[in-house]
Symmetry: C3
Subunit: 332 residues, 3 copies
Amino acid sequence: MKKSYSIEEINSYLNGELIGTTTHLIEGPEQLQAAKSHHISFIGSIKYAKYWAASKACAAIVNDNLTMEPIDNKAIIKVKNADLAMAKVLELFNPPAPEFTIDIHPTAVIHDTAIIGKGCKIGANCYVGKDVELGDNVILYPNVCVFDETVIGENTVVWSGTVIRERCIIGSHCIFHTNVSIGADGFGYRPSEDGRGLVKIPQIGNVIIGHYVEIGANSCVDRAKFSSTIIGDGCKIDNLVQIAHNSVMGRFCIMAGHSGLAGSVTLGDGVIIGGSASIKDHTTIHSGATVGAGSGVVGDVEAGKTVLGYPAQDARDMLKQWVAMRQFMKKQ
Amino acid sequence: MKKSYSIEEINSYLNGELIGTTTHLIEGPEQLQAAKSHHISFIGSIKYAKYWAASKACAAIVNDNLTMEPIDNKAIIKVKNADLAMAKVLELFNPPAPEFTIDIHPTAVIHDTAIIGKGCKIGANCYVGKDVELGDNVILYPNVCVFDETVIGENTVVWSGTVIRERCIIGSHCIFHTNVSIGADGFGYRPSEDGRGLVKIPQIGNVIIGHYVEIGANSCVDRAKFSSTIIGDGCKIDNLVQIAHNSVMGRFCIMAGHSGLAGSVTLGDGVIIGGSASIKDHTTIHSGATVGAGSGVVGDVEAGKTVLGYPAQDARDMLKQWVAMRQFMKKQ
Amino acid sequence: MKKSYSIEEINSYLNGELIGTTTHLIEGPEQLQAAKSHHISFIGSIKYAKYWAASKACAAIVNDNLTMEPIDNKAIIKVKNADLAMAKVLELFNPPAPEFTIDIHPTAVIHDTAIIGKGCKIGANCYVGKDVELGDNVILYPNVCVFDETVIGENTVVWSGTVIRERCIIGSHCIFHTNVSIGADGFGYRPSEDGRGLVKIPQIGNVIIGHYVEIGANSCVDRAKFSSTIIGDGCKIDNLVQIAHNSVMGRFCIMAGHSGLAGSVTLGDGVIIGGSASIKDHTTIHSGATVGAGSGVVGDVEAGKTVLGYPAQDARDMLKQWVAMRQFMKKQ
């Protein structure tokens, strides 16, 4: 966070329209009300505009449909899309990742047969099993475990506490956050011979994860009963998400926190699953569909459709039902 | 996965009826559409039968009520129950677990007073506390922590990242997957003297887990306030499940992903809790009852009953209500 | 658990009214039906009174509105509030925490620049990064990771498997249970330039946690996009809870298991969130409000109000609706 920029530098970087100016050097972004004079802030809608006069921020990035005035030594940068500009400013001020004092820490336990790419960093107390292959520039933060024969693509980053079980295939440029579980056994049992107990069904498949996939803290992706549980390129998965065995996700799907796929669910491309939503086993959700937060999906969902509620149905119908139900019940 | 079998060997193992034959050696199971010529596949219902002709699988295990024809160099094995046969085939091809290069890794930190049974394997960077007792053949994969005075029965397997707190009693032949938390403090507070804050109530009990219990990745079983949180023999618990303090589960219960028991819940034997279902504190669910996925149970459930919805009620009633509600609201 | 007390000592400690007496020394609390003669038990309501005669417990703490008789060599202690007395008895018998054989374990990897307070204990295989500051008497159990520039206040206890990412600020007297994730990246993406993919928005903020905060096993608190995700003093968070980026919690809030705050949620002081409840992003729940278990809150909640259901509404209205709906549907 040592870097600082003049207002002109930031305006030039954003290709914006500078109104007024400030002599302050900008050291980072902050919300209008918490900002100090070395901060830049954002005003994406009219309802936040009222905080500008009192804010200590020396600058604000503003949607160009808003009429905002610069104030003495406080500048305005007008842009088409303040949200997008904010994302770019965050990239500018993104502090460096935690430092490795040494590339491969001597306390890491790495099997002789493991293949470690160029530029890899392996933190303290990691475990890397037999025949593991790490592509170039893979980063394992301290206390990561990667088991036998798993392959991880280049530039993938794995945070502490995450465990990747044996024989999984992980793409490049992925990010796995802390305490993620990849490749634990799927949940499968059969009645015992005497009908009074449960016998474990071996889960001999694996997990295959594409490129540019991000998986949130404490989320789980189970290995397949046989064949593979698959997560397509560019999928983004939030914290505490459950992906059960033999589910298959297309590309660029989003799953928000606490959501889950039961076994053998299929998602097309670009599917969005809201927080705490659950999808019944063997269900297919086609490309571009959206499942509202808290929903329970018990049947296939058509491409592009938005569903809501439990059991989930067309979102507009569900919203109408909720309104009608509330009004009707008031009369009872 | 090096093992391969002739079609005759597999047919004999399954005690099936072989129709046609194949010269291919079978190296593992695969889904019909992804299979190659060294794979065996499964056809449990008529809707998958159409994929058989185009599948590259050299063999398929088929329910004997289906009429399937062998094709040139592709064999059919007819069995009474293709699902059960599949489970047996998975056992046949179950690859060995990750290898330990040394039984007790030198980086594991094991207290002098711990008693380690014969044949135990303790991976890199494990921690085993004071007076812990591990039965014979217990396996702790790398980065497992077991705290003081905890006892683990023979042949139990604990995967990486799992933490078992002090004074717990774990049965034999259990499997705890990655990043499980056993014995963390129950969630209990009382108002502070001035009524404006919260004071922690000590959680001085423990967790007792029976034999043949499996607990999924990132699940939690809290220690009791006093006395014990108890999980009976043969219970199977999926990923991201919460079992709060002083809950007591009978034998052979199943809890699916994201489900949870609030404090002091009692389950009988053979209770099934669907995914994302929650059970209110101090509730009893009697033996053989089933709670549908996504339900919220707020009162006791009779033995053998199936409940659904929130608040959960008889499942047939709930389903009827959902249908009636949808139809009625359409008329509004 | 070696300590034992006479009935007179415990009565004096609780400032109760002793009825009858017992010669047994009391070694701990136990439920009436599981108790042995060295146990003390609790009777908070009349429905448990019937178990007293058959219980082997040598003593029971009883609410003074209950009429209970001592039995030969079994004493009664009458108190105003048996629950509160129980909490005090638990404090009396609270066994010591797991032992550290050495304060700073030699296998812990601690950066040269880290500042470690007096009386800190750091367990085996911990990782403490660059410029971390631990206040006096901080305890890190084995396999904890604390990343660069994070500050932890005095007397805070961090259990195994927990990871605290860089640049976070943690108060004093906190307890973080096992496998907690603090400071993982918030969940934020923007469409890629070609509109067909997703680009990660850097999450450059941090997490600030107050004093006396307890966070349950496998829970997650994400770092802010910029600025801070904030948890106020005295908040108590159960297991498997999700707190997304830029959420702000006041003081003494309670979040039960599996509950979650989506991004930029604001909680006032003393807010109670029931188990499995979810709060939509950018929502404000004002001080003293309660959200019922399993609810989905999609709009702001007034101070002191109790809401229930999905979408959540006034709890009494919701309960009435549920009853009316059930009755109405029965007639359909």
